[in-house]
């Protein structure tokens, strides 16, 4: 399904670990400025697919281009143009957030404005704290700030909300919406469907190393309903999470 102005083109990506075909012929395109989600259960190959496109993992077969650059032939040039949030990444313990952002800026040969970056992810008050003192949601937000130091064309977020409580998750959704509004292309993985429905323009659903469906969330739901699917229990207009948020409020609980 070709898109206008693709900023990422993945063609028949493959990756095997021994006899396990972790990624088995994945192709998709991401348009500039969209939020693209890769969904799937654990072990579906989401992270491996992402890491091959990021230049973090060698590509066994197929090809990927980011912003017109071939990832396999020049991973460094690709890394210079993208921002990466790893699923579990740590930062140097002995430096504070400001120092870390400045240092990461130097790794991209850019002078950063740490105060602005921290403000973008609502961490201004933690400018002189160390990462280990942050809550889970704050860590994820800092990790996004660190991925933004080079003002990347594409931002890759690998399960950015896994392990966060509902308040922190919704807060991070706001941050990601903000990134999209500022013109960043975002590729994220998730196994929370309501998250993908809320954030993503289009989603690819992966299972067993392959893409089993790729469209906008509305289109995917529409096609399912079109095949005559009905829920056994009629969905109410609110769910338990809405109750939880209603009772406990939207404010973050991380201090």
């Amino acid at each position: 399904m070709p898109v206008a102005e693709p900023i990422i083109v993945a063609r028949d990506l493959q990756k095997s670990y021994g006899s396990l075909r972790a990624v088995d012929g994945v192709s998709f395109e991401v348009a500039a400025g969209e939020v693209f989600g890769i969904l799937g259960p654990n072990g579906a190959g989401k992270t491996t697919t992402l890491e091959m496109i990021e230049g973090m993992r060698p590509i066994d077969g197929g090809s990927a281009t980011v912003d017109g650059l071939d990832v396999a032939s020049d991973p460094r040039a690709v890394k210079a143009r993208i921002g990466i949030q790893l699923q579990s990444s740590a930062f140097f313990d002995e430096l504070n957030l400001t120092e870390l952002l400045v240092l990461f800026g130097h790794l991209y040969h850019v002078i950063v404005n740490p105060a602005q970056l921290l403000a973008d992810v609502e961490l201004s008050e933690k400018a002189h704290s160390q990462v280990r003192t942050l809550s889970g949601g704050q860590k994820q937000r800092f990790s996004i700030a660190a991925a933004l130091v080079n003002d990347p064309r594409v931002l890759f977020l690998d399960e950015p909300t896994t392990g966060l409580d509902p308040q922190a998750r919704r807060h991070l959704w706001g941050v990601i919406k903000g990134l999209r509004e500022r013109g960043h292309t975002v590729v994220l993985t998730s196994h929370y469907m309501e998250e993908a429905e809320y954030l993503c323009d289009r989603v690819a659903i992966m299972d067993g190393g392959r893409i089993v469906a790729l469209a906008s969330p509305d289109a995917l739901i529409g096609s399912l309903l079109g095949r005559g699917f009905t829920k056994e229990r009629v969905e109410r207009l609110a769910n338990l999470e809405d109750v939880f948020i209603d009772l406990t409020g939207h404010e973050l609980r991380e201090d």
Partner: protein, 364 residues
């Protein structure tokens, strides 16, 4: 080029900052050697120990007082006056080398004269050597006192003339050893643990996500550790000097040796850190490397005190080379011609560790 250097420089500064803020690392590499040095400096092991002699004066006359004051002025003796019972108890506890009893009515007269009585001395089997020395000293003091009484003039029996010379105490032996030990610990431990932790937590992986090659970070780590090692050697040497260590050789040569040693031990540290997947793997290997050298390479006591075969084996350890060279330079002012073998030995170790470290290294 300058852009590359800039990246290196920022990573170098950050590495140094991180080290200084890492309290565990600072404690083990700066304060521990300092504390060891302070403890041994205060204890001052190597000095000739003073002999504690108990004195039970049962005469309490002018003769006994004269003897007591003559004994008190004798260097190497510390006199404790007390009752015979108390002093003998102290002797039994090992707190006295000998106990001297001046019997009632004792006079300082030569044997054979009227009123002559011998002094009695008690020694303990447990401290036979010290007891004997103490008794000999007492004998000499009495003899000297008798001469003065006899001839009326207090001429010494033996005239002592001091010749200038270096008096190397234990602290002089210890400080170069501590310097060597510190260089080793900093190289092996600060790296093996810190770096493996970066690997384990995914911090290194995060660096992979940037366009800068992680080898810049590696280079920055090595260079910052080298500089820290030099600063540390200077501080420890300064403390040593304040303890009266005699620095005969040149500081520049000491620093050059510290650099050479650091390269060898940093190579080992990065070898371990590069090979290990986590701290549980790194810790035993780092200890396996450093513990034997800590005790067998002559940091705390001379290797000559070890059995012959052990001396032969430990001769070739990198810390032995480093300690020997540091000692030769600091204690004797040796030049390159004397420490040449040690320098070559270290250089060979440097090559060996570099080859092994690069083979074993894995980023993830």
């Amino acid at each position: 080029m300058s852009r590359r250097f800039e990246v290196f420089w920022h990573l170098f500064v950050a590495s140094g900052k991180m080290f200084i803020r890492d309290r565990t690392a600072v404690f083990f590499s700066f304060f521990l050697p300092l504390v060891i040095m302070l403890i041994f400096g205060v204890l001052n092991f190597g000095e000739a120990a003073e002999l504690e002699v108990g004195l039970a004066d049962e005469a309490q006359n002018s003769s006994s007082q004269a003897l007591q004051s003559a004994l008190g002025q004798t260097s190497g003796l510390v006199i404790h006056s007390g009752s015979l019972t108390d002093e003998l108890a102290a002797l039994a506890d090992g707190d006295r080398a000998a106990v001297l009893r001046i019997p009632a009515g004792w006079e300082l007269v030569p044997p054979g004269s009227a009123g002559y009585q011998p002094l009695s001395a008690y020694t303990s089997q447990a401290l036979a050597g010290e007891g004997q020395t103490a008794v000999l000293l007492v004998n000499a003091v009495v003899a000297q006192a008798l001469v003065s009484v006899d001839g009326g003039s207090p001429e010494p029996l033996v005239v002592v003339e001091e010749v200038a010379g270096r008096n190397l105490g234990y602290i002089d032996f210890l400080v170069p050893g501590i310097l060597g030990l510190t260089v080793m610990q900093l190289g092996v431990f600060s790296v093996a643990f810190g770096f493996v932790q970066l690997k384990q937590t995914g911090t290194l992986r995060r660096l992979f996500a940037t366009p800068t090659s992680p080898s810049y970070f590696l280079a920055a780590q090595v260079s910052s550790r080298l500089v820290i090692a030099l600063i540390q050697v200077l501080i420890l040497l300064g403390v040593g000097l304040s303890f009266g260590v005699q620095l005969v050789g040149s500081v520049a040569v000491v620093l050059a040796l510290a650099v050479l040693g650091s390269v060898v031990f940093l190579g080992m540290g990065f070898g371990v850190a590069g090979w290990a997947k986590n701290e549980n793997q790194a810790a035993p290997v780092a200890n396996l490397i450093s513990l034997p050298m800590m005790f067998l390479s002559g940091s705390f006591f001379p290797r000559e005190a070890m059995p012959e075969f052990l001396q032969e084996v430990t001769r070739f350890l990198p810390l032995t080379y480093l300690n020997n060279a540091l000692r030769a330079v600091i204690n004797d002012g040796a030049g390159l011609e004397v420490i040449g073998t040690d320098v070559i030995g270290l250089a060979i170790w440097g090559v060996i560790t570099f080859v092994i470290a690069t083979r074993l290294f894995r980023w993830e």
